[in-house]
Amino acid sequence: MSTTDLNAPAIALAGARQGAARPEASALPEWHNVRAPDARTTLTAAVTVPPGRRELRIFFSNPNALFGVTFLSIMVLMSIFAPLISPGDPLNMVTTPFLWPGQDAAYPLGTDAMGRDVLAGIVHGSRISLFVGLAATALGLTVGVVVGAVAGYFGGWVDDVLVRIIEIFQTLPNFVLLVVLVAIAQPSALTVTVAIAIVSWPMVARLTRAEFRAIRAKDYVMAARSLGFGCARIIFTEILPNALPPLIVTASVMVASAILMESALSFMGLGDPNVVSWGSMIGSGRELVRTAWYLTALPGLAIVFTVLALNLIGDGLNDALNPRFSEERS
């Protein structure tokens, strides 16, 4: 479990899936050390599938993962075609406030306290929520991977310094740091994204560092060094591709956490007021949770299902990516 030394729940969740059971279809014995030298010959020599195909097959044979992919695809399509599904600015106050879902066929999901169409909000909100989730993850992942890779690969004082920095960020309570950052930068979709990335990169860095330290000692990295490969080449072409599987799993969970963090920020009144996100819908509906609970429940459900879908995808990816590579790396 290279990931047990991680701090954040999101990554913990990803980490928790490291070393999950192999898929039942596999013909591999379960005991780790049932192998004489050269044992894997017979297990893999006959397999002539390009890498990736097998993982995809395992991934798509997992019903949970399939559900996740389907739901997320719908969400992504919805966000892409939002202007077609629901034309106009979702912030527009179009009709009577507090229409309950089903009360008016023109607004099937009802309207909020300001007479805005909830359906339009959810449709358009998917854009911001997914954008914040994906962009924050991309950013956090990039920074985290670079820092983690440098620390893990070079070791020594570079590692010491970077680990200190990572530790400083990890020791700070995540959400408090997030609030401080957003308070400094003023809430907008961009600053919220960057702030979420800032609080999430250390976990990625830690994970990457652990993977790099493990892979760095592998013979094929030794071989690359002995062949005179440059550091950048070794990091990006030799180590990184092999460190990716846990990072991919982590990324799916990070997107989910970023969406949750955005909604929590909105709950505390620190969301972007000029765009609709699921979080901001919950944030503005939270006071009305007793009287018009659908205003929080509907975007809440959108978040729950999206986060669930992302987590299920993460699960599926883990099942698909892990077994072979955990073996390759063992």
Binding site: L91, N92, M93, P97, F98, A113, M114, G115, A183, Q186, P187, G269, L270, G271, D272, P273, N274, G283, S284, R286, E287, L288, V289, R290, T291, A292
Partner: protein, 538 residues
Amino acid sequence: MTTHPRGVLAPTRRAFLLSTAALALIGTLPGVSFGAEPVQGGTLTVNIGNEPPVLVLIAHTAGQSVYLSSKVTEGLLTYDFDFNPKPLLATEWDVAEDGLRYHFKLREGVKWHDGQDFTADDVAYSIQALKDNHPRGRATFAQVKTINVLGPHEIELLLEKPSPFLITALASSESPIVPKHLYEGTDPATNPNNIAPVGTGPFIFKEWVRGSHVLYERNPNYWDAPKPYLDKLVYRFITDPAASVAAIETGEVLLTVGANIPFTDIARLQASPTLGFETRGFGYGNGITRAEFNFDNKFLADPKVRVAIAHAVDKNFIANTVYLGHAKVLNGPVNPALAKFFTPDLPVYEFDPAKAEAILDEAGYPRGGDGTRFTLNIDPTQPAGAPRQSAEYIAQALDKVGIKTTVRTQDYAAFVKRVYTDRDFDIALEGMSNLFDPTVGIQRLYWSKNFKPGVPFSNGAHYQSAETDRLLEAAAVEPDAKKRFDLFVDFQKQVVADLPALDLVAPDSFVIFDKRVVNHTLGAEGFGSNGADIYLAS
């Protein structure tokens, strides 16, 4: 009434008459006991929303502290709903015809909670401290030239110029009297007594668990025995609106004031047979919502643009949709609740987007290719709730007439810095208190001499009008009530014409209480009174 006379120990004739008059008045009010015998005992748990920074308002003005400070630390006077003064620590008072001398006789036999006697020295010290330290006291007592202690229970204030509002500023929460022996020689702002107060009031400070509650206990040696009736008074700080509502519904708090209660829940709570609503008793607040225009913005500096904006915004929408009807539409800077200074006789900018567009076209701001004339930002004072919703509405309304408007949210400190220090704003959507008098609560927003970058709640618009200045300055020292009223009416007309700010609505304030809680609102101070009369009906 016979066994527990409400009178004072040695009432002067005048004071006696006053208190009788007050009694008569009270007797006619609904929700207030008459005939019923006050019950001794019980604990009243109150939710005041945010946690107050201090428990004594000698050098502070924080809104939440009002409900706590007055219970322990009393003032000289208390007031009925029409701001007529009634005796508290002062038993008799009179103001000279020219308004330059205030004379007080103080109650005898009153002791501080630590056993020391209450004397005129305490009053003299407190008024000087308020003049030196209190953010509003500096203005209220600005004209006080000399404070003379005439005897152990007698004091006079001599003024430079008349301060007609001074007599209404002596409530417990506005001008508390603190024990000199605990404050002398210290900085009143940081005196430890501020967080663990010793006062003369009906309740004794017991504990303040930060983040959780403040606990007061009955003062058994209160000068107005057998008051107070309550054994304990607990203040809780529930910030989450939904949780505040839950606390009322479950009966965990019996009274809620100053907490954030969603307007949607109010209708539901009003249907409850056990709950009562009180909208009076906010005479020291009188909040209004206004959109202040930055005159340093080149568009907003143009009066036509401001007029166009006034026509573009439907105040009724804000009152009805944002506040769900729990607000009154304003045409001027004075809250109707501040009845002594309110005039309905003001010009109205009717809601007419077409007219707004016409004015903007005429003023030379045609719609561009994308339909936009120019762009503005609007900054609501709070990032959530009614201010933000109002801002969102205004942004939309302005969008419709071609002014592309962006809502920017930030926390309160950042808002204050942005508007008053950095002046990096176009339209600031603010909640402002009129307070108990326009000279104290309104003048600061319009007086050109109060354009002070760095000072919050000053003249943020950078509005400058010689006529307005003249009217405000004259009203500030005008002892005659009628003349003063006329000056303020002229002032209101002037600023409605100049539009340094668009006054939107006056939101209602509520005390939501369990109907067993009796006598919590008896005058202009409302729950900000000393609370000696409150009891829990069985």
